[in-house]
Each structure stands twice: as C-alpha cells, then as structure tokens.
Subunit: 336 residues, 2 copies
Amino acid sequence: MSVTLAIDAMGGDHGPVVTVPACCDFLEKHADVKIALVGNPEVLKQALSQFPNAPMERIQIISASEVVLMDDPIEVALRRKKDSSMRVAIEQVREGLADAIISSGNTGALMAISRYILKTLDGVDRPAIATAIPNEKGRGTTMLDLGANADCEPMHLVQFAQMANVMVQVVDGTQNPSIGLLNIGEEVIKGNEVVKQTSELLRQTNLNFYGNVEGNDIFKGTTDIVVCDGFVGNVVLKASEGLAKMMSGLIKEEFNRSWLTKLMAICAMVPLLRVRKRVDHRRYNGAVLLGLRGCVIKSHGSADRFAFGFALERAYEAGKNRMVERIAQAFAAETK
Amino acid sequence: MSVTLAIDAMGGDHGPVVTVPACCDFLEKHADVKIALVGNPEVLKQALSQFPNAPMERIQIISASEVVLMDDPIEVALRRKKDSSMRVAIEQVREGLADAIISSGNTGALMAISRYILKTLDGVDRPAIATAIPNEKGRGTTMLDLGANADCEPMHLVQFAQMANVMVQVVDGTQNPSIGLLNIGEEVIKGNEVVKQTSELLRQTNLNFYGNVEGNDIFKGTTDIVVCDGFVGNVVLKASEGLAKMMSGLIKEEFNRSWLTKLMAICAMVPLLRVRKRVDHRRYNGAVLLGLRGCVIKSHGSADRFAFGFALERAYEAGKNRMVERIAQAFAAETK
C-alpha cells in the first residue's frame, strides 16, 4: 500500500527551494510514497528540473494560484485566499486523495483552514498541536497543546492526553506511553484549578497516567507525553528555543574571542558537533495537528531541506499507520 | 547607616555549612553590614570557629530550636514549628531588628510564614516571587510570579508589575524599567482572557509597559521585567533549568567519550568555563518575595557558599535602598 503526501509546496519562509528538494530526497528513500506538490506549476516544474533523477511517476503537481503568507491574518488566509497552496493541499486530504498534508506555513492559518475543511473528529472538542521535544533519554517527549488553545477546560486536557496516547503509539511505536500532567509541584494539592480537576479525570481513564510532572521533567523524559494548555505549552516551547539559542550564541562568542580560542574550537569541534546533533531541533521538526478528520503536519516556518524531511517522515508514519482512524476509534470506544 | 541581615542559618540543603561561611565572606566585603545568624547556637558557634578573623562585633547569634525541613508541609512549618530558625529570622524583620531576612528553606513555608508574620502591604492582594534570569544582554530579566500564585486575576498581574518596577529600580539600579506581559503572540488578539485584560489595564498605568512578549524574549532580554502568573512562571523556570542541565550533561558526556575527546575538553576548557560563568545560575541566586511588610529573600535550596553570597547581595541592596518602603509608597500613590 502506498502513502500519498500532499505538500503545501509554497509555504514557509523558503517555499519550493526547500520543499521540492526535501520531497525528492524523501521519494528516493521511500519507494511506497507518492507526493502531490501543490502550488504554482511553473515554479514547481522549475524547482523539479534540478532533480533529473526524481521519480516523476510518483510526483504530481497540483495547481494553486495563491500563497498564505507568514504574517497573513487568519481571516485573510481563510476567507480570501481560497486557492492557496495550503488550502488546496488540505483539500487533497479531505477528498481522500492524500493520506497527510504537510505545510511550513503560518500555524494559525493552517489550524483554521484545516478545521474548516476537514472538521474535527467526533468526541474531540478542540484540536491541539503536539510535537516531540528532545530529552535526556535521547527519545522525544511529546508535548501538547503548543498554542492552539490558550484557555482550556479539564475535559480538553483529557482529550489531548487521549489523542497523544494514540499518536505516540502510532508514530513513535511506544506501547502504552506514560502521560504526565504539567504542574508546578508533584504534590496533588499544588497547581491551578484546571490542572487539579484534570488530574482527577485522568485518574479515571484507562490511560497510563503517571501523575503531575514539573517543567524540568520535559527534558528529563520522565514521561512519554506531557499535557498542558496551549498557553503554557507555547511559552515553554519558545522559552526553551530562546535559552538554547542564547547558550549556543554564547558558545560561539566565547570560541570566536581570539585566534587562540578559535584554535580551541577546532580542537573541540567533534564533541561540540555531536552535542549539536543530539539536540538538533531539525530532527524533531513536524508538529501534528491532532483531532482533525485528516492528518495535518506543521513544519517549522524556517525549516531547511534536512528539517522538512523529518516532517515528511512524521507524516509518512502517521499516514501509513492510519493515525487519524485510530484516534477516531479510540474516541468511539470511549463514548460507547 | 548599617544594614542588618537576619539569616535562617539552618535552612536549605546544607544549613550552616554554607550559610555561615557565606556570611563571613560577606561581612568582610561590606563594612556596613551586621548579621544575625538564627539557629542552634552550639552548631553556629562551632561553624563560626572556623573563621577566627570574622568580625564578631557585627555578628549576633539568635537561638531557635527547630528547623523547617525541605519537605515539611506548610501547615507543619507554620503551625507546629513556632521556634524554627526560619520563623525567628522573619520575626527579626517584623520587630525592626533586621532590614531583610534570607532563607534557603522550603519556598512554600517561607512564603506562608512571611505572610503570617509580616502581613502584606496595603494595596497588595497577593505577594509574588521574583527573580532575575540570565539573558543575552548579560543583564538579568526579572521575572515574576514564579509560583506563589497559580491562578491570577488581571489585577494581580498589574500589581506584580508595579512591585517589580520598584524592585528593579532599587536592586538593579535600572531607571524606568520596561515591562513585558508574557503571552503567546505579540498581536493584541492572542492569548488567554486573563492576559488580554491585563494588557488593557497595564496600558492605563504610568508604568513603562512594552506590550506582549513571548517565551524567547525572556532570554533575549527584550524587556527588563516579564510578568506572568505563578503557574506559567514556575513551569518556565523549571523547564529552563531542565534544558540547561540537559545541555551541560550532553556536553560533559560527549567530552568524556574517549581519551581523545577528554584531551579536546582540556583544549577547550577556557571558553567552555567562560560560557558556564556567564550563565551560572548561582550568580542569579536570590528570589525576592514581593508585597510583604518586610524584605524576604529566598535563596535556592541547594545554594553553595558562592551562590548564597549573591542572595545576601540582593538582600543588602534591597535593605539599603529601602525597597519595601518604596513599594509601599508606590502603592500609596497609586491609591490616592
């Protein structure tokens, strides 16, 4: 059985310069993949012409005349740009012509258009954004929500846990993943009201609920999944990006200080590069929009060819293993 | 005019082994400081005997028979241990015998006992915990609340901003500090309900309100102060500690991999140590409990002699510059 991926080829900071080469790499790696590149056909043909060995029989170009820009307001993206590459790519999934859609475009627009076109699954009140974050154990900690829902009720957080439970089993192959609820203390009495009530509800499910976890547990890898509202999740994700950037900036600055420290940098290159590789956010590219009637993968806007490949990998795993159907089944079983 | 600091000498993971040497160092550095060491007199005398050159005329030992343990429930610390070193030290401030109290003990207990003994300032509904976090600009970003208030109303966040505004002027000497409201997008429409309303209220004050900031702005140093509720603040702080620990662990691991990489580590020692020094959390030790009728400084439980010295420094600056009185004046002016 083949997997078809619909690509918003024009999206993100770089557009086809990144998406087309990454897709060609991916097709070479996976013989069971077909790709639908959505966007300006002239531009896409031009980009493809750089890859004379690409398997053209597995590549389809689908025309879309507009592009959702990174700073387009959601309303503009949703109501005015009805022939955007993002929207046409999502429609491929709705029509059953693709198993997943991948976009590096504007997150808010991607969520809004996906909800509008695909609708949410039965039993899911609100879709959420989930991604894997590097941890000490070398696997990723899957965290959600990362910004789709700033205000959450306890029931929403429970649904996030249920969706992530299926996602991690399907995409990472982890059986019965452990689930932590992000809180400010391990003791049951701590935390805000929503978290306290969520904890009670999660204990009543048949999920592998570990209990409360704290901020540092995300990077320790205490649990496979960490659940929080989209406000907290987004702030933590961006703060972590900021801290990592500051630290690597400081390392660069100190090694660039003089010819002597530059020499030291060359001496220490191998271990430093290994560290960078191990925490390389590009390897964790590809957030999943969970709770929709279709598989939608959000790649980082600034993703390069290497990073976009990882988003394609996530989409492929989710599509091949029928993640969305399995989430739908889990919710159907829950409501029986 | 001299500054008197009351020390919960028994508190924290290490007790007098850390607090007494740090205080002796500090007395040597500041001729205008007097220190009241609170705890078991025998133990404290024994610890002081290691410092024959300490200025004993500026050291007072105050007896307290109990110690608040790091895992004592707040109720136990508050109701049962009425002769704890923490409580007796706080009472020194209430009685006007000390200008500030510093403790490495249990945060929850310190806040609860401080509120009980000292009471909050007029116009302050809830005290908050503020600390400086290293940023790219090399100064600290002062962030609050870090965990005293899991659920906040907009008015509480505005009060946090007002208190931090005075604190940063007094302790860091920054005139008219800029204030950012932690949010998930710079656009006014984004964020949760509490943050949206807080933003409106902050615009109406005469504070130097910058607007919304995101998680990465904490480490960029976009504003001098970042305001958030205690749930978000605590999670971000702990997540940052976790990430920093993971990264330094990875660096150690990679440099320890073989004799060759160990040799590389020696070559790269100087820049790596400089980086560590620049982000050393010990230099930022000393969180301030704001909004009380007295100056209370919380040192990290695991603080060593070096780190505890920085907490003493913060207490000294706050005490010398009459931080609490100035916060009280700011709130009195506000309510006129």
